[in-house]
């Protein structure tokens, strides 16, 4: 039982490491050998970055939808909401100002 748990958790870390390294190296490769237009590549880079963050949360920080205590998950979701509000709001406002005054 204990042995199995150990294996399971070790596997989670190993999978996390492999995925994280892969998800970091692909975008780096895309920058070194640009194949698509800049906008597309940038979208892919950000998408993979977001995916990698989810991998870190799942494999290293052990956040999951089912198992974790609800409080932590809610906390994370609420933070994401505030974070998006602040960051996206700031970018819209300052982008608009830049556009009008630039």
């Amino acid at each position: 039982m204990k042995r199995d748990d150990y294996r399971r958790e070790l596997a989670s870390y190993v999978i996390g490491l492999v995925l994280a390294v892969t998800l970091s190296l692909i975008p780096i490769g895309l920058v070194l050998f640009p194949t698509w237009p800049r906008g597309t590549t940038l979208g892919v880079i950000f998408g993979l970055g977001l995916l990698q963050i989810l991998v870190h949360l799942r494999c290293f920080l052990h956040i999951s939808l089912g198992r974790s205590h609800r409080h932590d998950l809610y906390l994370l979701l609420f933070t994401s909401l505030i974070l998006v509000l602040m960051v996206v709001g700031s970018l819209i406002v300052l982008g608009d100002l830049h556009h009008r005054m630039g």
Binding site: H71, F78, T79, L81, I82, L85, M86, G89, S90, I92, V93, L94, D96, L97, R100, M101
Partner: protein
Amino acid sequence: MTDSSALWHLLFGRLGYDALPFYSLIATCGASVVILGALATAGVITWLGKWRCLWQEWFTSLDHKRIGIMYVVLALVMFSRGVVEGVMMRTQQALAIDAPGYLPPEHFGQLFSTHGTIMVFFVAMPFLTGLINFVMPLQIGARDVRFPLLNAISLWLTVAGAALVMVSLVLGRFSTGGWSGYPPYTGIDYQPGVGPDYWIWALTLSSLGSTLTGLNFAVTLYKERAPGMRLFHMSLFSWTALCTSILMIFAMPPLTVATLLLALDRYLDFHFFTNTQGGNLMNYINLFWLFGHPEVYILILPAFGVFSEVFATFSTKRLYGYHSLVWATLVIAVLSFTVWLHHFFTMGQSPRINAAFGIATMLIGIPTGVKIYDWMATMFRGRIRLTTPLIYAVMFIMLFVIGGLTGITLATPPVDYQVHNTVYLVAHFHNMLIPGMLFGMLAGYHFWFPKAFGFRLDERWGRIAALNFGLGFILAFMPLYVLGVSGLPRRSQAIHNPDFAPLLWVAELGAVVLLAALGSLVIQLVVSIRRRDSARVPAGDPWNGRTLEWAVAAPPPEYNFAVPLPINDRDPFTWLKEQGLAYDRPRTYADLVLPRNSAVPAIVGVAGFACAFGLVWHIGWMAVLGLLAAWGAVIARSFQRDTERLISAADVRREHEAWLDEVAATRPVTRDEETGPGNRGLAEMGP
């Protein structure tokens, strides 16, 4: 540079004789008052031989009740400075109609900057933090907050920030950039002195303290509630404490980032908000109000909480619309993150963006309106006792609605363009903060004072103070609405339109009445302390309270609750009284564990102050030493293992049963005798 001046610079940085406050008579007087006040306080403490007691019982205490009381004391001390500054500014404006007045522009600029900074960060924040600290753990049936040491560290960081603002009266000059400190005016090019640095580090210290406080309260409310108390059993005050804590956690970071980046601009020649090298001051304004708007609700929500308790208790009725009040609070908390742009409608962004934020702002009026109706419905057909806390609450409802309506006008971008930067705005936010925030805090002060100290405050002087505050507010700020619409800009040191004179003098009169109100508060405190023996409430329930804090002695034992109380209702103490269980003798007692006192928080506060002071005056060694000492103290503390002490079950039993015996010997009183000497803190059930 000569050798001796290099040495001076190394030792004392930019400090010099010109830092002393001899540049104007008013500044010299202000500094003298601070120094003499500090010396007199120290002298009295020495004369009474209380230093040891103060250190052992208070400064090193980790008890949430004592920490709460110290926060409120800090708030009241700073409040008196803030009020005096407000009166000084009103007087200047009344005198300076086509005349120079008595304050030079530079000094006037310092005054409105310190007034705003002090009132928001060192009056409102410590006051509400203090009340929550004292009341909330008692209301949820907890022994203490979750992290008592952190709680004390937050207190001392706030004290360090306040001390920095006080020192700025004596050494050097404060910023003239207002409480919001917009660059580039607060940048190094326009204010090369130490003023903005004082402002930056005072705010940084206090915002760190507030973030940690918010974290502490949130964990306490989630995890430390007494067994049986569900979230929807919590009192409204605890709910608002929860929402305020969440706002503190998420709204303080923008402020910290804004002040730190401004510091980088000033100290290391970075270019975030400068006019050159691609800097962009609009980034600062955006950041500041990302903090600033939620901050408004950090200030107002706890006041809403106090009013909810006061309306229910002094109407002798269950709170009307509990669930709607809780949900309104939650909705306000979330919406408060979506409206920050209404503070800078005129910055130049597209009309559609302004419109979106204007609409979001108006939406907040809806949950607030729900609350107002709930409170009025609570009073409807209640057995109302119009004592001081309820007087504050009733004045709040009437005046706050006016402030809310003017808020709606300001939320309309075209109107905002018209009255932008006029005293209309000054009138509006004072209308929210005085009847809203301040009246709430004073109602709470009055309401919970007997719980904290064991005796009631004098009712007559309480009413005089309350009515003076109400009258003073109306006289001082209603004229500003008219003046604002007529075009009087805010922060004017001199006024060149004689037509403004009559209303400015009415406002001046209001300011004097507000000063009288502050005086009445002081007199009330003195009178109450003198007559404390006839106003003692040892049984602990002077107002026929409804929530758990009234179920223990006044003042409460350091462990709060001798045994856990059964909780089945959202008015848990009323339920206990109705079931006849309120003063039951427990059969068994258990050993209780409490944190030992610790000097670490006070050390962190002193070190934090030293670090900030060193940074302000560019005294490198002091800044570094302060930082190292603060972290060193925390790390040293982490090596301490013997941090808790045990109170034996026998001791708890002895103390608790002595109190129960006293309760049994106390004559219960009806509400007619509430303010009379017969009220010893035991309420007779029934109307």
